[in-house]
């Protein structure tokens, strides 16, 4: 039972990383539009960013992202967690389309599809390098871990 709860938390944190990252970036972009260009001889102008409400909200979302990211890193490999941050760009594409009314070209949707495939691929694999079985065949190792992880996820979804 406790194991299922832990599994659920992990999926939740993976989603939180993607959503907070994407939303935070969209809010930062909105804020930097207000601020205008930063010149090197007036670089202190960059601190004005911290009084812009959009940027503050963006930073709050990125703080949420950072907490989820740290939690995920405490139990998983960096190369397992990184695709979740890339999935944030998929969230960004959707938010840009819906809230900023930007046109998202077919090329961008193709990019979104590729990122989603990449994330799906790595998320179904093992999350942490097994230090003891480091020298065993990698392909067999990952398929075994996938099979072991799958029934629990299905259980939890049901």
């Amino acid at each position: 039972m406790a194991d299922i709860r832990v599994k659920f938390k992990k999926i939740f944190i993976y989603l939180a990383i993607a959503c907070c990252n994407g939303t935070g970036d969209v809010l930062l972009k909105r804020g930097m539009e207000n601020l205008g260009e930063i010149h090197l001889n007036h670089w202190t102008h960059i601190f004005n960013a911290f009084i812009d409400p959009w940027i503050i909200l963006g930073i709050l979302f990125l703080a949420g992202f950072f907490y989820s990211y740290l939690t995920a890193l405490s139990w998983a490999d960096l190369t397992f967690v990184l695709p979740a941050t890339a999935f944030g760009y998929v969230v960004t594409a959707f938010l840009s389309r819906v809230f900023l009314h930007e046109t998202v070209s077919p090329w961008r949707w193709a990019g979104v599809l590729l990122i989603t495939c990449g994330v799906g691929l790595v998320a179904r694999g093992p999350s942490l390098t097994e230090r003891r079985t480091k020298d065993t065949a990698l392909g067999k190792d990952s398929s075994h871990a996938k099979d072991a992880a799958l029934p629990k996820e299905q259980h939890e979804l049901a």
């Binding site: 890193l73 490999d77 193709a110 990019g111």
Partner: protein, 126 residues
């Protein structure tokens, strides 16, 4: 000149954020599962554990530096160029660093995923 300035900022951003990611990952592995620590000692206990780890603080400095590089790059170039370009480069750079510095088991599945994500992110620029 402007594009040289922009790509220098993106390059610094990529290096700083990859180095920061690798340091954070190493630091969090030393600290242990944050969920378990939170159950035992609460949120303050988690913060206490995390901020006492020197590698975490060093990684954080790298990420703060990369954040300022990001803000600067965003003000010089299009967000639709800066964000995907820096992300896809950071992605590859971090995977290489994770393999050689953290000795992570970056198998075919993860390389394929890294390549898919990288190409996908680059397509976002189109």
């Amino acid at each position: 000149m402007n594009s040289l300035k922009l790509w220098t900022a993106i390059g610094m951003l990529v290096l700083a954020s990859s180095a920061g990611d690798v340091m954070l990952s190493a630091a969090m592995k030393r600290i242990g599962d944050l969920d378990l620590i939170r159950v035992e000692k609460g949120l303050l206990g988690v913060i206490g554990h995390v901020v006492r780890e020197k590698l975490f603080l060093l990684g954080l400095c790298c990420l703060i530096f990369s954040f300022f590089c990001l803000l600067t790059a965003l003000s010089w170039g299009d967000a639709s160029l800066v964000a995907p370009a820096s992300a896809s480069l950071t992605y590859i750079c971090s995977a290489i660093l994770a393999k050689f510095l953290l000795h992570e088991n970056v198998d075919r599945r993860r390389w394929l995923s890294a390549a898919l994500v990288c190409v996908g992110v680059l397509l976002l620029v189109k």
